[in-house]
């Protein structure tokens, strides 16, 4: 069997086995945790081995891609969709991130979830999630990608509501699902439009169509919607799907609530892999986006706005996981800016570095929560560096990497994003650049606010924190080391590097679709790099001032500017606005119109009315049925007599 098929298959097998054990445990049988853990870890680790094999193969093949056709998936008339797996450079990057970081998080989770009553179910879902995620990146066409896309959404729902006995958790799961469905509607419409235009949904076929002679005319034609061209409309519709999955404005509201799930879930799904699916989608279709400057500009503007606003929302959160949730939204904003520049490698590199440091941070946060006996409020933490030094070091390294401290990973990836956005020279690029700069300052501030509130000062809680088991600090330590070193994969030319990652990933983008190379003076690039780093360090310094040097300062600020503090704490009241503007009107309409009028009135009325009609007629006609022989015979005689009269008379 091909290694490429083995990747999803191993994970699916893991999910099936653990699912089976989960069923057994529901029926009251005791399941050995080590057995479940073994299956759960073996699945992603063997997938990782297969992914490494595929990575090696792809690098050696001159075509740079492996294709395996599994079976005909949908064959209906002119629509023919194959279940086909394709691995090229872009896929390999995603595969290694998913299976590599996924394996570490699986290992961590086996310790973190120790003693949970639904231990097998958790790992069945986690393996299933990883399976769908690999399908998402391996799919050779939009429908196969969509299969993975929906699958990860489903697993995300299952895992957010993992502790479903608390109604709040189930509600959070449903919110994530519903918000994602809104995005999916856009995705589907975009897919239909592409089918109508190009007659194929295979990435390869779309690319060949785009290279063909009629592509410019077909994509440039007026779509009839707000005067947008077909390419713009298709890209924007697909991007709506991406904003849902990747938690961008305006569909980001589900991600903070998704923190209701167990922390390893937050690390794997809501930080490292699933939420980057939208970025992957735009990177995968970069050749399509190259037809529409408007779509690229929109991606950059949305990314920039999300990056800055989510960064602001993070600065007054007290729940350690909420800070990380908003920071994830903000960082995905950077990735969107990156792919919005037209260069997939820029956004993708931030995906990779972010996967490392955000997974490390989430696992660290999980360890802290674990150690503090499920306390998530940072106001009841502090001084933990003495109690759990290893976790503290790992988290600080990851936080520094995210804040863009050179030469850690975040420095290289974020700087590349900002430089490319600046170098586009467009208004959208400048807007994204300004937002990204401000976001960098926010990042430094909120990350080190988290570090200082958690590990600095003295302990303010009532539990007895202790260092976590070896499996837990080892995995988060490895991820922290990764977030220190991974940046060297893409050292820019100006720093004497060769941008290995960039040239590797950009092989998937045909030359004709590549934007004009960034022309900038070295001095400008140095200046930009210096400014963004300085802003990040400034944020860190501000956090130090506010939370170590003078802990009374934040409250004093909040008292001086009560309105600003309230808006920040309320996260710009986006949730409230959606509640008032969308959720409640919808609820009212559902109750008043759909439920009372349509469902109860019309549909129930029709159904019950038919029954009532039959019943009413029956109650009249039944009187004719006396049950006496005499009546029957009498009627018969009368009828025969009448018939005779009619025939003879």
């Amino acid at each position: 069997m091909d290694a490429i098929t083995l990747i999803p298959l191993a994970l699916l097998a893991g999910a099936a086995l653990n699912g089976l054990l989960s069923l057994l445990s529901v029926r009251g049988r005791r399941i050995l945790e080590p057995l479940v853990a073994l299956i759960a870890i073996a699945a992603p680790v063997s997938a990782l081995a297969a992914a490494l094999h595929v990575f090696g193969d792809v690098s050696h093949l001159p075509s740079g891609r492996i294709e395996v056709e599994l079976f005909d998936w949908i064959a209906a008339g002119s629509v023919n969709i194959d279940m086909k797996l394709v691995a090229d450079n872009l896929t390999c990057v995603m595969l290694l991130v998913i299976t590599g970081i996924g394996s570490l998080i699986h290992i961590y989770a086996t310790a973190y979830m120790h003693g949970d009553e639904a231990y097998p179910r958790f790992f069945a879902c986690l393996n299933l999630f990883t399976f769908f995620m690999t399908m998402l990146v391996l799919g050779s066409s939009l429908p196969v990608l969509f299969l993975g896309w929906e699958g990860v959404g489903l697993c995300s729902y299952l895992l957010i509501g993992f502790w479903w006995k608390d109604a709040k958790n189930s509600a959070a799961g449903m919110k994530a699902f519903v918000v994602n469905r809104i995005g999916d509607a856009g995705f589907l419409l975009g897919m239909f439009l592409l089918w109508q235009t190009a007659g194929t949904l295979e990435f390869d076929g779309l690319r060949r169509f785009a290279e063909g002679a009629g592509a410019a005319a077909a994509f440039g034609a007026d779509s009839g919607v707000f005067g947008a061209s077909v390419a713009t409309l298709a890209c924007l519709l697909l991007f709506v799907g991406a904003t849902g999955k990747s938690a961008q404005i305006p569909l980001f509201v589900w991600l903070p609530d998704a923190m209701a799930g167990p922390t390893p879930v937050s690390a794997l799904i809501h930080a490292a892999t699933m939420v980057t699916a939208g970025v992957y989608l735009v990177a995968r279709l970069a050749f399509l986006f190259s037809f529409s400057a408007t779509a690229l500009a929109t991606v950059m503007v949305i990314g920039g706005a999300t990056c800055f606003f989510a960064g602001l929302m993070a600065v007054r959160q007290n729940d350690i996981k909420k800070v990380l949730a908003y920071s994830t939204i903000s960082q995905i904003g950077y990735m969107m800016i990156g792919v919005g520049t037209g260069w997939p490698n820029v956004g993708m590199f931030h995906v990779v570095t972010h996967a490392f440091f955000k997974a490390a941070l989430f696992l660290g946060a999980g360890s802290v929560i674990h150690a503090c006996h499920h306390e998530q409020d940072m106001r009841h933490m502090g001084g933990l560096i003495k109690k759990m030094p290893l976790t503290a070091i790992a988290m600080t390294l990851a936080a520094a990497a995210m804040a863009g401290v050179p030469p850690l990973a975040g420095f290289f990836s974020k700087d590349e994003v900002l430089w490319r956005a600046f170098a586009t020279g467009t208004d959208a690029g400048m807007f994204a650049w300004v937002c990204g700069m401000l976001g960098a300052a926010c990042t430094g501030f909120y990350m080190f606010r988290l570090i200082f509130m958690t590990f600095g000062g003295s302990y303010r809680g009532h539990a007895h924190p202790h260092e976590v088991p070896g499996r837990m600090w080892a995995t988060q330590g490895l991820l922290a080391l990764g977030s220190v070193g991974i940046g060297f994969l893409a050292v820019p030319h100006i720093l004497g590097g060769h941008d290995l990652f960039g040239s590797y990933v950009n092989q998937v983008l045909p030359l004709w679709a590549q934007p004009a190379p960034a022309h900038g003076e070295a001095a400008t690039e140095w200046l930009l790099m210096g400014t963004s780093t300085a802003l990040g360090l400034l944020g860190i310094a501000a956090a130090w001032l506010c939370y170590i040097r003078n802990p009374r300062l934040p409250d004093a600020c909040a008292r001086t500017f009560p309105r600003t503090a309230k808006v920040l704490e309320g996260k710009f009241f986006v949730d409230e606005a959606y509640d008032a503007g969308v959720v409640r009107p919808l609820e009212k309409a559902s109750q008043g119109f759909f439920h009372k009028l349509l469902d109860r009135g019309l549909i129930d009325g029709l159904v019950n009315g038919t029954a009532a009609l039959a019943q009413g007629m029956g109650s009249v006609l039944r009187h004719g049925q006396t049950g006496l022989v005499r009546t029957g015979i009498g009627l018969m005689l009368a009828a025969v007599a009448a018939l005779l009269l009619l025939l003879l008379g």
Binding site: L621, R622, H623, G624, Q625, T626, G627, L628, V629, R630, I633, G634, L637
Partner: protein, 99 residues
Amino acid sequence: MDPRPYLTVAVLLFLLGAAGFLVRRNMLVLFLAVELMLNAAGLALITFARMHLSMDGEALFFIMLALAAAESAVGLAMVIAIYRNRHTLNADKLDDLRG
């Protein structure tokens, strides 16, 4: 030959049987009434046979006799079975199919 007197008797016999069936309650009497109607039809058959100088009607009447014998055997058996179960032969009490 004038068939009218014979047919008149047949009609009277039939009406007598029908009226009996409709007004009486005892199942044995109902049974008698049925036999009356059957024989009225038989009389009509023979009358028409005579009228057309054909033996078909008479042959049919013999078949009818056999049929009546079989019918009364089955019918009487049912009457007995009903009496055993319900201890009554009042047809008005047997109205289980009333709506």
